[in-house]
Amino acid sequence: MVAQTFVQDFIEFITKGIQMMETKRSRLPAAGILFLGLMLGIPACARKTPSGPDKPVLALVMKSLANEFFKTMEEGARQHHQERASQYDLKVVGIKNEEDVSQQIKYVETLIAQKVDAIVIAPSDSKALVKVCKQAMEAGIVVVNIDNKLDAEVLASNGIKIPFVGPDNRKGARLAGDYLARRLQAGDAVAIIEGVPNAFNGIQRKLGFEEAMKASGMNIVSSQSGYWETAKANQVAAAILTSHPALKAILCANDSMALGAMAAVKAAGKTSDVHIVGFDNIEAVQTLLREGRILATVDQHGDKLAIYGIEYALDILKGQTTPADKETPVDLITAETLR
């Protein structure tokens, strides 16, 4: 194995560097060499064994891998790849923060330069990523859009079509909202805690919640952003509970924020009066759903989402299908469905 001997060489090199550093005379140049070694060595060690020429290389470009949802998505993709390692090669890249749009654009540019065969992308911004996706397509790369749908108008103005494989967030939120409405009476006060203000999926979820609440005649007294975060959502929920003591439900655009809203409801001593609805079905809310402390959430099958995109890209590469949008399932999760 070439890689293994390289690792040994590298370790030896670093050890030498450290020894040189310890002899005080040559500290500065030694530190320089050590640094250089690290810079050169780390990427080389991380390098994968070269693949055969006939296997297509698929790149999965994610949003933040610090986010549980995308982590689940990544793990699903990796497992899919392990089971079918003979069929394709997989590269996974993820940005640090979900809002780090420029970083994601740079990743796609790198992938174009590396001449991958297909890019499956969850864009961090539905408009800003269109241009670089167009460049990829012009370079002959198959591009499939997952999770966060690229803006239809911007796509049209660039004269391209990129197939979207993913769930309808609005429909999912509507499902949860409708389920909640059955526990309420028309005219009841409810509040929405939104995601980051400009996030497409956050906006879709908000619209879905609003649709459900309006259809059943509920009174939306407040709708504010919790920035996808537990602590921020807690602060907002606590404030809304105070200014609207008659509040009957809080609809949160993700489960992390539902945890924050739950803490606020508990602190206000209203656990039995205020229903909470979330989105994403993360592991941490499973017990809470069973106990009824969170009424409902929505599962958009994050673990399968990237797989749908990958399989679709492979089909396109094989020429088995013509690119078109493909909707993936969303399911309502409640104490009853968990039983």
């Binding site: 945890l259 602190a267 592991e283």
Partner: protein, 320 residues
């Protein structure tokens, strides 16, 4: 001792200035937000501030010695995930998990201090590195997943003395203790001296290194302590505390602590935390738009610092 006797009234006027600003803010929200003057508003604020206050105490000390600690949010996140992982994934007893969380925080702070002092590096870049390291470790510990802690830590948020929660009492206790350390102990005087002129301290025969080391370690320790309160309320989420460092620095600076070092007060920091918390709670209760919230918060921070500039001038005028 005689020097002290004229200093106290100046302090008092300082506090009165902060309290006045807070009162104005409260009055404004009293008119604009529904049900603002209610018991529950104040309970909410008392629930929101303890973790930020505890972090801000550590940050006050760090700023006084002319350093900065950008890692507090991440370290708090990491400590919290350690607590969660030990409690839920490893089934360890509560006392052990809580201890481990605090120790992890302390360790991160100690490392910040050691690296800063050993190689005489700017703490800005050292703690920026630690910010990334601790966040990475937090994600590693939890596999990027929120750990739900079923009830083990409820005693922390639910214990109340005379209606005041345990975390709030703890935070106030830490503020008072830290103020005593700052203004009544030799160590406190040394901190101010190091922040004013480190070279002069060294030349007068005092080694500033141990002082700096202790301050950074303390900041880490307090981040560990704050993480226990955060985790008890919000579960062990590896993304907890993201961006909190800036909020904490803003609170400390609003309290009149100088970013240049050598000047600061822990009690004023506490007022700074209260001002930010009242502002955020009030804006949410007034149902303000997202853009409005940010515009106003930013303006208040800048206004507070300008106010502090004039307060300093008046004070120096008096003294000179």
């Amino acid at each position: 001792m005689k020097r002290f006797s004229w200093k106290l009234p100046v302090w008092l006027t300082d506090y009165l200035g902060m309290a006045g600003a807070l009162a104005i803010l409260l009055a404004v929200f009293g008119f604009t937000a529904e049900n603002f003057f209610s018991r529950s508003t104040f309970l909410i604020i008392a629930d929101q501030v303890p973790d930020i206050t505890i972090l801000a105490v550590g940050m006050t000390f760090v700023l006084i010695i002319a350093g900065i600690d950008l890692s507090v949010g991440s370290v708090m996140g990491l400590s919290g995930t350690v607590v969660g992982a030990l409690l839920v994934n490893a089934g360890q007893p509560v006392w052990l998990a809580v201890m481990a969380g605090v120790v992890v925080g302390f360790g991160c702070g100690l490392l910040n201090g050691l690296v800063t002092v050993r190689w005489s590096l700017p703490s800005f870049i050292v703690t920026l590195g630690m910010m990334e390291i601790a966040r990475g470790a937090a994600l590693r510990v939890t596999q990027s997943r929120t750990i739900y802690i079923p009830g083990y830590l409820d005693f922390i948020t639910e214990t109340r003395l005379l209606g005041i929660s345990l975390p709030f009492l703890l935070a106030v206790g830490i503020v008072l203790l830290a103020q005593l350390v700052l203004s009544r102990t030799v160590f406190g005087r040394y901190m101010v001296a190091v922040g004013t002129n480190e070279e002069a301290v060294r030349l007068s025969g005092i080694n500033p290194r141990p002082i700096k080391l202790v301050v950074f370690a303390l900041s880490g320790l307090l981040a560990g302590l704050a993480s226990i309160i955060q985790t008890a309320r919000y579960q062990a989420n590896p993304n907890n505390g993201q961006g909190v460092e800036l909020q904490v620095i803003a609170a400390v600076v609003i309290g009149g602590t100088s970013l240049m070092g050598g000047r600061g007060s822990v009690i004023s920091t506490f007022f700074g935390v209260l001002i930010i918390s009242v502002l955020e709670t009030g804006l949410a209760q007034a149902n303000a738009q997202e853009s409005t919230k940010r515009l106003i918060t930013g303006a208040v921070i800048v206004a507070a610092v300008i106010l502090d500039y004039y307060r300093q001038r008046i004070r120096h005028g008096k003294a000179g």
